[in-house]
């Protein structure tokens, strides 16, 4: 399985993160989105006429949308059905969140591209749009917490969490601060705490994990 990848892309990160959580092996082909704009060149457009990353190739199958790829990997590699539940209510909500994730790309993701690479867009509108989405997410996550869940659907993480996670956690890169979104911050923690979690630039690994001991030198000194 081959992932056409760009390290700073939140949409590619969805796939890398999910593959890491499920332990799915794959190889990557680095595509020079920036500064090379390789996605606009003929060779890449033959692969994906939409000119976007990620692209996943598995045998004869080529998938060109991050939500489609997450769905495929979940159905193919997760026999428990946890990550892509088939229950009608949950599945319908899951599709809603996948669409929400695309809205995040268009707002938080765009604000980030403007802040980092000066992509010429209306950044204030993008940041405002991101905050409107964060408010909806915060309301929903509060509801979930009242029902003792840390995740978007039911009680366990699904591909909806994976799809929404990158451009929420990376929002500060684009000047969209997460202070004041208490439930969103707890949700980010819950995802970072998952076994096999994979960080990306701008999203730290879980340094604060309770199982991580104090450094050796310090421990020795504290005991002395």
């Amino acid at each position: 399985m081959k992932l056409y990848d760009y390290v700073l892309s939140g949409n590619c990160y969805k796939i890398r993160l999910f593959a890491a959580l499920l332990g799915i092996p794959y190889e990557t082909v680095a595509v020079d989105l920036y500064p090379g704009k390789e996605q606009t060149r003929p060779a890449f457009l033959r692969l994906n006429p939409a000119g976007t990353l990620p692209v996943l190739q598995d045998g004869d199958l080529t998938l060109t949308d991050s939500s489609a790829i997450l769905t495929y990997l979940a159905r193919r590699h997760d026999p428990t059905g946890q990550w892509c539940p088939q229950d009608p209510e949950l599945l319908a909500q899951l599709v809603g969140w996948l669409s929400f994730a695309d809205d995040l790309t268009r707002t938080s993701g765009a604000a980030r591209l403007h802040a980092i690479f000066k992509k010429p867009i209306d950044s204030v509108a993008a940041q405002k749009g991101a905050h409107a989405l964060l408010r909806r997410l915060e309301l929903h996550l509060c509801d979930q917490e009242f029902d003792d869940s840390s995740f978007l659907l039911g009680k366990a993480p699904t591909i909806a969490d994976i799809a929404c996670f990158p451009y929420v956690a990376l929002a500060p890169d684009g000047g969209v601060e997460l202070d004041g979104y208490a439930a969103v911050q707890r949700w980010i923690y819950a995802i970072r705490k998952l076994d096999g979690f994979l960080p990306m630039p701008g999203i730290h690994p879980l340094h604060e994990h309770p199982d991580k001991p104090l450094p050796e030198g310090l421990n020795a000194r504290l005991e002395a």
């Binding site: 700073l8 500064p35 390789e38 980092i116 690479f117 630039p201 340094h207 450094p215």
Partner: protein, 280 residues
Amino acid sequence: MINEIALNDWYPVAMASELKPGCRLNRVLMEREIQISNDGDKTHAFEGSRVLPLQIRYDHVWTSLGAPARPLFEIPEGEQDGRRLVACGRVHVRCSPLRAVENFLDIAHFPYVHTGILGAEDHPEVERYDVEIDDEKDEVWARQVKFFQPQAAKSAEGGIMADYMYRVPAPTTSILYKTCPARVGEWDIITLFVQPVSETTCDVWPWMALYDDETPFNDLVQFQQTIFMQDRSILENQIPALLPLDPKMETPTRADLTSIAYRRWLKRRRMFYGAQTIAA
């Protein structure tokens, strides 16, 4: 505060590869709007109708708002045969251009900011190294720097004690000479060219000159982008945004000798653009 010293230096404003015939690039240099254009065989830089000095070196376009007091620094190793030259584009950061340079001179942050790549939490120690301000060249140098790295370069396999040298040839440029995994006895060169946009914002243009014939070009660029984007979230959250030159403002240790020398050197050169000279 824009002082003469800052005004009269050379700054990177574009990659040479961006200079397509007929192109016109708008840039902000020290709060002033400038244009770079290419008419097919020549590249020009302007501020309004004023022509600015210009040169193309190290895969980048360099200009100055004043009358450059000295030529652009030399990186002789960077022009050796057999190296791959890798321009990584630019990353905009909301921090002082000087903070961006200082962070690049710092190894103590590797275990926490570049965990698993340039550092590991169980190898955080910074051993003694040598720092000097070379008065003749008017540069800051750090030598004999050693640090344990899980993945020192894209081409590295497994952890190594990496050897480093740092060189600051201009206030907004930092050059790193680093153990070359592919060729024993040679140094890889990784630089940070910084374009001051304002005192508290900058564009960073990483550039590398490596002995590495194996790693695909895109992987080299993205390795560097990974590292720098890990730094960016730090740089945007240092307070104050300006680099404090008053030694009482912050608390360095022996691991920070390069940063101490860098700040002292800035003060001596009276380079205050992006610096905080009075304690807040």
